[in-house]
Symmetry: C2
Subunit: 585 residues, 2 copies
Amino acid sequence: LDYQHVQVPFEITLWIMLASLAKIGFHLYNKLPSVVPESCLLIFVGLIMGGIIYGLNDRSPPVMDSDIFFLYLLPPIVLDAGYFMPSRPFFENIGTILLYAVVGTIWNVFGIGFSLYGICQVKAFQLQDVSLLHNLLFGSLIAAVDPVAVLAVFEEIHVNEKLHILVFGESLLNDAVTVVLYKLFRSFCEMPTIKSVDVFAGVGKFFVVGLGGVLVGLSFGFTAAFTTRFTKDIRVIEPLFVFLYSYLSYLTAEMFHLSGIVAIISCAMGMKRYVEANISLKSHTTVKYFMKMWSSVSDTLIFIFLGVSTIGENHEWNWPYICFTVIFCLIWRALGVLVLTFFVNRFHVNTITSKDQFIIAYGGLRGAICFSLVFLLPDFHRKKLFIAATTVVILFTVFVQGMTIRPLVDLLAVKRKRESAPTVGEQIHIRFLDHLLAGIEDISGHWGQYYWKDKLEYFNSKYLQKILLREYDQPKSSIVLLYEKLERKHAIELAQAGQLGHGLAHPSFLCSAFLCSSSDRTVITDQKMEDTPNPDVLDNMQEILARNLYRIRRTGPAYNRHTLPGDSEPAEQAKEILILRHKSL
Amino acid sequence: LDYQHVQVPFEITLWIMLASLAKIGFHLYNKLPSVVPESCLLIFVGLIMGGIIYGLNDRSPPVMDSDIFFLYLLPPIVLDAGYFMPSRPFFENIGTILLYAVVGTIWNVFGIGFSLYGICQVKAFQLQDVSLLHNLLFGSLIAAVDPVAVLAVFEEIHVNEKLHILVFGESLLNDAVTVVLYKLFRSFCEMPTIKSVDVFAGVGKFFVVGLGGVLVGLSFGFTAAFTTRFTKDIRVIEPLFVFLYSYLSYLTAEMFHLSGIVAIISCAMGMKRYVEANISLKSHTTVKYFMKMWSSVSDTLIFIFLGVSTIGENHEWNWPYICFTVIFCLIWRALGVLVLTFFVNRFHVNTITSKDQFIIAYGGLRGAICFSLVFLLPDFHRKKLFIAATTVVILFTVFVQGMTIRPLVDLLAVKRKRESAPTVGEQIHIRFLDHLLAGIEDISGHWGQYYWKDKLEYFNSKYLQKILLREYDQPKSSIVLLYEKLERKHAIELAQAGQLGHGLAHPSFLCSAFLCSSSDRTVITDQKMEDTPNPDVLDNMQEILARNLYRIRRTGPAYNRHTLPGDSEPAEQAKEILILRHKSL
C-alpha cells in the first residue's frame, strides 16, 4: 500500500465525491429542500464531519485554507455568476447597486468598527486591549455581504428580479471595497504611525482596484472572444478557452492586488456574446454545463468546509463582543439600506418599496469570504476572538436569516418573480421601446441610459463584432437566436414524440429576416425604410409570427446556480405545441 | 505585485493555454497536419521552448515531473481511450491483443535487456560496469509501446480497424507487464541476493496486477453506474461522477501497486452503457466533450514537456549503447511480432497479413511513459546514460517512424479503414448473425466467443440492468438508441434548414418496438414468438425502416482523440435526406 504517493489527488477527489453525494442525498427527499436552504444542511453535514474528525483524532480538524478558497473554490462560483448574470436588470440598476456596494459597505465597516470600539470601552467586558484599528479591520471583513451565501438563499426564494439583482449585485461588487479596506486597515495595524497621505492613498485605491479589475477582466474577455475566432477546426478545445481566460483574469487581478471578483465578472460578461456566437452548439452546452457543475461543487465544498472548520479550539468565546457584533451587523445594515434607499428613491420613478428594503437588509448574509479573511489576519492575541465572532455571525445569518427569509417573503407578500418569463412578443416590444427611448434621448439631447446603450451597441456592431466574431457579416439579433433555439428545441421534441414529418415548409428564414431588420434601430430613427420589406409581406410575417410564437415559447428563467435553462421544462409543452399546430392546420 | 501567491495556478493555466494555442496554430494551416504528425510538431515546440529557457537561465529547464505525469496527465488520456474504445473489435481480438501485450512485451524486455548486456561486454565501449540487472531494468522500461504516442500517430493514418485495435490495445494492456517487470527489476537491483522464490513471486504478480486492475476498475464502474441512478433531480453534477469514479479507480489501483491504466479502462468500459442510459442528453454531451478536451490538452502538454525536458544536461552520450538500443528495439519488436503472429494465424481464419505485421512492428512507438519511468529510476552512476538512450529512442520512434508510417501505409497499400461506417441495415444483420452463432454454439456445445457474449448479455439484462439502470423496465437496444439519435439529429438539421413542418406522423414508436423485440435473442432461440407483432405489421414496419433508414444514417466513425462523432459531418446530408424524403412523398 502506497498511500503517500496518491494522497493529494485522492483526498481532493474524495472531498468532491463527498460533496456530490451530499447533494444527491439532499435532493432525494423532495420535502427537505423546500424547508431548509441547502447551505444550512451542508454546513450541518460539515459540523457532523468536523465532530467525527475531532472525536477520532482528539485535535481540531483541518481548517479551510484561505489560499485554496480564494484561488480554487471562489473563482468557479463567481465565473458562473458573471456568465449567467442577467445583464439587462443589472445595467438598469447599476447605479443603485454601486451605491449599496460602495457607500453601503463603507457605512457598515465604519459603523460596526466604531460601535464595537465603543463596546470595548466597557470595563466589565475585559476588551480594553482591542484597539480602534483592530475593530475597524474586523469591521472591514465582517461588513461585506457574501455572494456565495446570498446566491444559495436567494435563488430558492424567487423574489422579483430587481430585488434579486440589487442584493446579488451588491454582494459581488462590494469585493473591491472589502479588498481595499481590509488591506488598508491591515497595513495600518502594522505601521507605527499613520499619516494623512496614507488615508488619501486608500481612497484613491478604490478606483484603482475596482476599475483596474474591470479593465483586466474586459481585456481578457475580448482576447478570449478573439481566440475563439480561430477554433473552427478544433472544436473540442473551445470550452477550455472560456475557463482559461476567465481564470487568468482572476489570477492576474489578484496578482496586482485588484479585485479578482470584479475582473472575472467583467471577463465573463464581456466575452459571453462573442464567444457564444463563435463556438459550436455542443461546445456551448459543455461550457454552460461545466460552469454550473463546477460552481455547484465549489459551493457545496465551501459550505461543508465551513461546517468542518467551525469545530475545534480556534475560538475565544467572549460572548458580549460576539453578541454585539451580531446586533451591530443587523442594525447598521438596516440603517444603511434605509438611508441609501431614501436617496435612491428620490431620483427614480420605479421606487424600492419598504418591503423590498426589509428584504434587502435581511438578506445581507455573511459567508465564506469573511471566514477566509479572518484566518488570513496576522497573528495577534485577539485573533481567536475575531474568529469566534465571525463564525457566529456566519452561522447566525445563514441559519436564522437564511431559514426565516422564505416565510417572511411569504408573510410580507413581497413581489415575486414573474412565474412566466417574457414571451417573444413582449421581448420585441421591449426592444422596440428601447430603440424609441434612445431616439427620444438623442433628439432631446439628454444623454441617459438608453443613449449610451445605443452608442455602445453601435460601437459593438461597427468595430467589436468585426474583430471578435468569425462571421461578422451576419450579426444576429438575440430574438432571432432565441427563435432559432426554440425551433431547434421544438424539432427535438417532435422527434422524441415521433411526430416529425415534412409537410408545410416553415418560413423561419423570412421571420428571421423580418426580426433582423426590425431589431436594427437605424430603421426607426434614421428612416432608412428602403431596407424593410413592403407592408403586404410584413402583414403576412406578423400573422406567421402570431401563430407560431405561441405563449409557451419563452426564454429560460433568470439566474439559478443549480439548474440549466430548460432543465425543468415540463414535457407537456411539446404536446401543447403539437395540438396548437394541428389546430391551426 | 504578488506573484508568489498565485504562482502555482497561474503557471499551470499558462502551460495549458500555451498547449491550446499551439494546437490552434497547428490547425490553422491545413497542409501541416497532413504531412507531419501533431506529436512531432508539439515536441518541436517543446524543444524550442526548452532551448529558450536554457538560453535565458543558463541552466537545464525543468524536467517533466513523473508524479505529475502519472497522476494528472496520463489518466485523462487513458480514460478517453477506454471510454471511446470500440468494444466489438476489442473483444473480438482480445486473445491476440493479450498475446502481444503480455508475451510480446516480456519477449522485448528480455531480448533487449540481454542483447544490451552483450554489447556492454565489448571493452571498446567502456560499458562493463552496467550489470545484467540494470540492462533488464532498462529493457523493461524501454520495451513497452506507448499508448499516447500510438494514438497520436495511428488516428491520423486511418488503417483498418483490426490493425488499429491490435496496436492500440497492446499499448494499453502492456501497462500491467511494464509495471510488474519494472518494479521487479528495480527491487532486484536493490536486493543483495535474488532467490528463486522472488522470481516466482514476480510471475504470480502478473495476474494480481492485471486482474486486480480489472476488478478495481469494474467495481468503481458499477458504483458509478449505480450512483447515476439517483441524479435525476440534480442533472448538473452527473458528468462529475463519470470523472470522479474513473479517477478514483486509477488512484486506488496505483495505491495498491496494481495497473492503473487497466483499472481506468475497465472502469470506463464497464460504466459506459449504464451511465449513458441514466444521464441526460446534455450531460452526455458534456461528458464526451470534456473527456475529449481534457485528453487533448493532456496529450499536448505531454509532448510539449517531452520536448522541453529533452534540452539540458541530464544526458550521458555514449553513442554505441544508444545506437544499439535503437537497433535492438526495432529488431526484437519485429521478431516478436513475426513469431507471435505465426502462432496467432494458425488458430484464426481471418489471418494477419504480412503487410499488417510490418505496420504492427513499425507502429511500436515509445513515448512519455518510458520517459517518466526512466526519471523515476533510483540514482546510480549510469542513470544519465539510460536517460539519453530513452530520449533518443523516443525521438527516433516519434519522428522517424511516426513521420514515415503514413507514406509506408500508402506505399504498401495497407487495407484502410472503411470510409463509410456500417449502415443501420448492416448493423441489424451483424446483430442477427451474432444471435444465430450464439444459438449454434449453444446447440453444438462449443463454448466460444458468441456463447459467452450471449451469456453475459443475459446476465446483464437479468440482473445488472435492474440494479444499475433507473428505468430498467425498458432496456433499449443500441440500434433503437442509434435510431433515436439519428431522428434527433435529423430534426435539428430540418429546424436549421427552416424546413420543419408537421405533416405525416412518423411511426418511430412502432419501429422502436419492432427493433426492441427483434434484437432480443430470446425471440430467436427460445421461440417466444408470441411477443412479436403479426406478420402484416412486420412487413409494414420493414417498409418504413427501409425507406427511413437511408444509407447516410450512419453511426459515427471509430475512435479519434481530436473530434467528437458527428463533428465533421458535412451539412450536405441534411439536404440529401430532405430531397429523398420529398421524393418518397
